[in-house]
């Protein structure tokens, strides 16, 4: 059952009004009656009525006015006008003002009911239409408000409807679209060659059913439209723009990918065993991540003069490309660019030549077979070590900022890996070197505690690393050095200076060894000393060897003197021998004479009674015998022969003794007291043959000259070299005919703090330009065989280096040369590493024993 019709009756006449109400209610109509137009309008405003039956003539507001108000206010009611007087014009006006019907009094209830029913139907239709309109308006608003493109096509592809967004995207007015064929519009207005929908294979293959049109990327949703009877008459297409969404999505994906790559790249280098494998894996990873066709690394070769391709990854397309082999590529412009830039990008543009500045770089890229290239330098220790480069075969999209960031990070990771590899290799080498060197190495902290000893030092000291670690280096102290010695050492290194010297240390087995040490502090960048590194060498054998070498030098010089010394000995030996032979002969003669005399005496009486008879020869037997035996001669010569033989023996003895003192073996480090005057005399004796034919000796010795602590062998050697040189200088002058005999002057003086020795000659002198060189080893002006050039250099070493003395030379060409030696009288304090040996006391007594 339909809802009852709601009717309002408006009539100023009470009876009519009530009668109508009654009749209508009796007809099943929900009815209300009011007497006034205002009251009626008020009711209409407050609630819905289907039909209003309005009397035309009313005192307050007539029916016409009311119609006007209903219409103006849009009140939803269907008005019916009734009147007692039939005025046509009123009826027409009423109809114009929206009245549904015009009835005349008296009103037949049946007729009225029919009219009310029709009016009610009309009201219902109106109401429905209103609703429909509203809906359509709403739909249109929604349709146009959609950000998606929506269009409806009929089965012929004509646009039935489209929303504003679509029209905007196409760029045409909606009216120009509706009713036109979609594909035609696309072709006409957008130059599309293919049918966009239905025929596009993209729609089929694309799982997301997306479409790229209007410079964007859209999701395409398609549905059919059917008549209520189910017959399909068209399709509706919704295109949702996902360009931005997709981009965001893409970026997110890239971001994730990027992070993944970075983490993988980093993980390649963690605990890496084979760096090359890690790098190759990384190249592949970043290559595929950044859609590169080729990723490669060039590195400086071992010689450091060229860059070589060390790692190369490329896509399968690569092999088909005619890229130059690495050897043929001249990288110079790229290398040059990379030394200044953090990255170098090269893009070979298809249109137009590249900028001149980039021409050379483009050639590099072309030579590498790439259209697009990006390279990152790899610096190791501020030096270009190589570069990481990515390239593409075609000019695809530009490198994304994210890719660049990835590449930068990767280049950094590879750089640090290479750097580590380099430094690890260096460290390995250093470790190898330290482990295999013969030099002992100890590292201590500042305490000092031993933190490291290398195998060589384990061998030198006899302590194993386990035994030494953590201990104080005192572990090997022998107790043979004074506390001051160590204090000096500590002062030196704690002030950050390097200490060099020699230790007498004790091995684990108790034996003492000598080691040459260099101890250097290790500093932090802020200057703080953190460690000390000691490099030590066992020089026990070397010291022995050095002593042997010194001895050998001494022997050598003695050998040089040997010929002269032999002469000095051979000459006396010659005359001693001759004298002794003479004495033998004389003795024979004398004994024969004695025998004869005895015989004569025995034959005659004794004592002779008479003087012996003089025979014919004018003498007796004895006289004859005495005459024959040349007794006078013998009596004169025999004492001389004996005397000269003794002289000869003394000379030989003197030479032998001087020789022994001269070459007294003193190869220990200790010094013993030496009488310098005596030493000079010995040296003169030993070298006598060198000077005696050309020079006379003038000695001016200071008798108060104190004994001097020294190494006698070294000093004697020094004196000898100077004396021989002086003799040679004089000899040269003798040969030039200046004189027959020169003069060799030796002076000693006791000065307050020095012993001064001057050895001078009046020989040829030394030209000023040579004076500087004379102490250089192997410098000589003498002909081969007369000198090795070592003499003065050895002299210098003995006096200056060994005895902390000075040696000066005064010389004038043609007038002579004087060497002035000054030896410090105070015992020189032991130089660092020149320790006093504990045996020195015993040696001292031995020496004095010899001297006595």
């Amino acid at each position: 059952m339909s809802a009852p019709i709601k009717v309002i009756v408006v009539d100023d006449e009470l009876n009519t009004r009530l009668a109508l109400e009654r009749s209508l209610i009796g007809q099943g109509v929900q009815c209300r009656s009011v007497a006034d137009g205002h009251e009626a309008l008020q009711a209409l405003r407050e609630s819905d009525f289907d039909v209003a039956i309005i009397d035309l003539c009313m005192p307050q507001m007539n029916g016409i006015e009311m119609l006007k108000t209903i219409r103006n206010e849009g009140l939803r009611v269907v008005p019916i006008i009734f009147t007692g007087m039939a005025h046509l014009d009123k009826a027409i006006e009423s109809m114009k003002l929206g009245a549904f019907d015009f009835l005349q009094k008296p009103i037949d209830i049946n007729q009225l009911m029919l009219t009310v029913q029709r009016a009610n139907e009309h009201s219902r239709a109106l109401r429905h239409s209103d609703q429909l309109n509203h809906l359509v308006n709403q739909a249109d608003a929604i349709f146009d408000a959609s950000p998606d493109m929506i269009l409806a096509l009929d089965l012929n592809g004509r646009i039935v409807q489209c929303n504003r967004r679509f029209a905007q995207c196409v760029g045409l007015h909606r009216m120009a679209l509706i009713g036109h064929n979609w594909n035609a519009i696309m072709k006409d207005h957008l130059n599309w060659s293919d049918d966009c929908f239905d025929t596009s294979p993209q729609l089929e293959s694309n799982p997301r059913n997306t479409i790229r049109i209007f410079g964007g990327h859209y999701i395409h949703h398609q549905s059919e439209i059917a008549h209520p009877n189910g017959q399909v008459w068209g399709t509706i297409h919704v295109l949702r723009d996902i360009t931005e969404l997709e981009r965001a999505e893409f970026l997110l994906r890239r971001r994730l990918e990027f992070e993944q790559v970075v983490s993988q790249v980093s993980s390649h280098f963690i605990g890496v065993v084979n760096l090359d494998d890690a790098i190759n894996a990384t190249l592949a990873k970043i290559g595929s991540a950044s859609h590169a066709d080729r990723v490669f690394i060039y590195q400086m070769n071992k010689m450091g003069d060229d860059f070589c391709l060390t790692h190369d990854w490329h896509t399968s397309d690569w092999n088909q490309m005619a890229g130059a082999t690495p050897a043929e590529v001249t990288l110079a412009p790229l290398i040059e660019a990379l030394t200044h830039e953090h990255e170098v990008q090269i893009h070979i543009a298809h249109d137009g030549p590249p900028a001149p500045a980039e021409t050379t770089l483009c050639e590099v890229a072309r030579a590498l077979g790439l259209v697009s290239l990006i390279a990152f330098p790899i610096f190791i220790k501020h030096r270009l070590h190589g570069f990481l480069a990515l390239g593409r075969l075609s000019s695809g999209p530009r490198w994304l900022e994210e890719d660049l960031a990835l590449l930068r990070i990767t280049a950094g990771v590879i750089r640090s890996a290479l750097e580590r590899e380099t430094s690890e290799m260096l460290q390995r080498m250093l470790t190898e070197a330290i482990n295999h060197t013969d030099e002992g190495i100890i590292i201590t902290d500042t305490q000092p505690r031993i933190q490291y000893v290398n195998p060589a030092y384990e061998k030198i000291s006899g302590y194993s690393a386990e035994e030494a670690l953590g201990k104080n280096p005192k572990l090997v102290q022998s107790g043979l050095h004074s506390p001051e010695f160590y204090e000096n050492l500590y002062q030196t290194i704690s002030q950050g200076r390097v200490w060099r010297g020699r230790f007498l240390n004790r091995r684990k087995d108790g034996t003492v060894f000598e080691e040459a040490s260099t101890i250097s502090p290790v500093r932090k960048p802020n200057g703080e000393i953190t460690n000390y590194v000691a490099v030590k060498r066992d020089v026990t054998d070397q010291v022995r060897l050095e002593a042997r070498v010194r001895m050998a030098q001494k022997l050598e010089s003695i050998g040089q003197l040997a010929a002269g010394i032999a002469h000095e000995i051979n000459t006396p030996t010659q005359y001693i021998g001759d004298n002794v032979r003479f004495l033998r002969k004389s003795t024979d003669v004398l004994l024969g004479l004695l025998h004869s005399i005895i015989t004569v005496c025995e034959q005659s009486e004794y004592p002779p009674a008479a003087p012996p008879e003089v025979d014919d020869t004018g003498g007796n037997d004895i006289q004859r015998m005495v005459h024959d035996s040349r007794l006078d001669y013998l009596a004169h010569e025999i004492p001389l022969a004996i005397q000269q033989s003794i002289e000869g023996i003394e000379q030989v003895t003197r030479i032998v003794k001087a020789l022994r003192e001269f070459s007294y073996p003193n190869d220990k480090l200790s010094k013993i007291p030496l009488d310098l005057n005596r030493a000079l005399d010995n040296t003169l004796t030993v070298s006598r043959n060198e000077w005696k034919y050309v020079a006379e000796i003038e000695r001016d010795y200071d008798p108060d000259l104190a004994s001097y602590f020294c190494s006698p062998g070294d000093l004697n050697q020094a004196f000898l070299n100077l004396i021989v040189n002086a003799a040679h200088a004089i000899e040269d002058k003798v040969k030039s005919g200046a004189f027959e005999q020169g003069r060799l002057t030796i002076t000693t003086r006791q000065l307050p703090e020095h012993a001064e020795i001057r050895i001078g000659d009046n020989g040829i002198g030394i030209p000023p330009e040579l004076l500087e060189k004379i102490f250089d080893p192997f410098f000589t002006t003498k002909e081969v065989g007369r000198g090795t050039g070592q003499g003065l250099s050895i002299t210098y070493a003995a006096i200056v280096e060994k005895h902390k003395g000075t040696i000066d030379v005064e010389s004038r060409v043609g007038e002579g040369t004087t060497f002035v030696i000054k030896l410090p009288l105070l015992h020189p304090s032991p130089a660092p590493g020149d320790p006093q040996t504990p045996q020195s006391t015993t040696e001292l007594s031995t020496i004095s024993g010899v001297n006595r």
Binding site: A562, A563, G564, A566, H567, E568, I569, N570, T571, P572, T573, Q574, Y575, I576, G577, D578, N579, R581, F582, K585, R630, Y633, E637, L640, A641, Q644, E647, G648, N689, K692, Y693, V694, E740, Q741, G785
Partner: protein, 404 residues
């Protein structure tokens, strides 16, 4: 009467010598002077047979004195004596002195050597020959040998054995190095058994000095007319020496005798070399030999009073070679003139000559053996000389190849 001039700056040495010679009879006149200047003056003033000088002296050295004597008084026998043994001092004297003595030296040995040298010299009556024998310091050598030796000596990696071999391939060189080693030139007087050994002992340095600074070896670029082929002659001498060595070793079983025989054999051509050194004299003798068609030895004896082997013997005396060497040379052709008690170097050289053949009388390989003197044959065991070729030293092929 022999006049001896002794020079030494050390008065003690002179005194002692005078004393130890006080019992010499009048056969010797001794002059002792303390310096070279006085010695030179004395040499100018009176004839002196022997000059014996110390080497190292202030003023004019003995070296200088002896060199002056060599040049101005070549007929004087010159002996050096020194306690000094520096090598370079003595090198200059290699040509100038006949013998060198080292101090300390037994005065009796010294006097004996002097007397022996004088005796040797006195055997030469021909004045030209005497001058030649006493005044010749440098010996003629084959030019080619000298070039090869020089080349080898200049090679920094010179092989001393090779040098020895090169020296032993030349008569003049061999004789000279034997003379130097035999005397106490370098403070040592050694017994050596071959020229090669002598060269090795001297060492490349002294040999170099001998070649370059003293010209001890005088290359005979052009042989005087009538000369024999030096190389040919030297091969003959080497074969004589080696054969004599084999014989001595076999029959005497005395190594010294064998060494003496070898050295004597090698020295045989020295006489010829010396004669060639005086082209005039040499030409005279060789042309006479050709003219008279007589053996060279006979012409030599007629002309000079001595054969070339006897001249070699004189040189051996003057140079102080061991006396058996001098004897072997002197009596090589007349062993009977020498007291033969056992098979010694004299016999060995004589026998070697008879086997190898006398130079110029037959070819090198000829084996006439009928000339062996009966006195020598008598010393041999029975049948020992049936196969003389057994003793013939092999012809040194290497020598031939090396030289040609």
């Amino acid at each position: 009467m022999t006049t001896i001039l002794l020079v030494d700056d050390e008065q003690n040495v002179l005194n002692a010598m005078r004393r130890s010679l006080f019992d010499l009879n009048e056969s010797h006149a001794l002059h002792f002077v303390p310096n070279a200047d006085q010695a030179l003056r004395l040499l100018e003033q009176q004839p002196v047979d022997v000059l014996l000088s110390d080497i190292r002296m202030p003023g004019m050295s003995g070296e200088e004195l002896l060199l002056k004597a060599y040049h101005h008084h070549p007929e004087v026998l010159r002996f050096g004596i020194s306690g000094y043994s520096k090598r370079e001092t003595s090198i200059a004297l290699i040509n100038a002195v006949h013998q060198f003595f080292a101090k300390p030296c037994d005065i009796d040995h010294l006097l004996h050597s002097i007397d022996r040298a004088c005796d040797g010299r006195d055997r030469i009556s021909h004045p030209d020959l005497r001058r030649l024998v006493l005044g010749t310091g440098a010996l003629p050598v084959q030019a080619q040998s000298l070039r090869r030796l020089t080349k080898e000596l200049n090679n920094p990696q010179a092989c001393i054995d090779r040098i020895g071999r090169l020296v032993s391939q030349d008569a003049g060189m061999s004789a000279k190095v034997l003379q130097v080693v035999n005397s106490a030139f370098f403070g040592l007087c050694r017994h050596v058994s071959s020229a090669a050994e002598a060269a090795v002992m001297l060492g490349p340095e002294i040999l170099r000095a001998m070649v370059h600074t003293t010209d001890s070896f005088q290359p005979l670029e052009k042989l005087p007319a009538g000369s024999v082929d030096l190389h040919h002659m030297w091969q003959w001498a080497v074969q004589i020496g080696d054969t004599a060595y084999n014989l001595a070793l076999h029959f005497s079983r005395n190594r010294h005798a064998a060494d003496h025989a070898l050295i004597a054999g090698n020295l045989i051509p020295i006489g010829l070399l010396l004669l060639m050194h005086d082209p005039g004299l040499w030409h005279e003798i060789t042309s006479q030999a050709q003219l008279q068609a007589r053996p060279l030895c006979q012409v030599e004896r007629d002309y000079l009073g001595l054969t070339h082997t006897e001249i070699a013997a004189v040189l051996a005396d003057i140079w102080g070679f061991p006396e058996p060497v001098a004897a072997a040379l002197r009596y090589a052709h007349h062993p009977e003139a020498h007291p033969l008690q056992e098979f010694d170097a004299v016999c060995a050289v004589h026998m070697a000559l008879s086997i190898v053949g006398q130079f110029g009388a037959c070819s090198i390989k000829g084996l006439p053996c009928g000339q062996l003197h009966p006195a020598v044959r008598a010393l041999l065991p029975h049948g020992a000389f049936d196969a003389p070729a057994d003793f013939l030293a092999p012809f040194d092929e290497e020598l031939v190849h090396a030289t040609h």
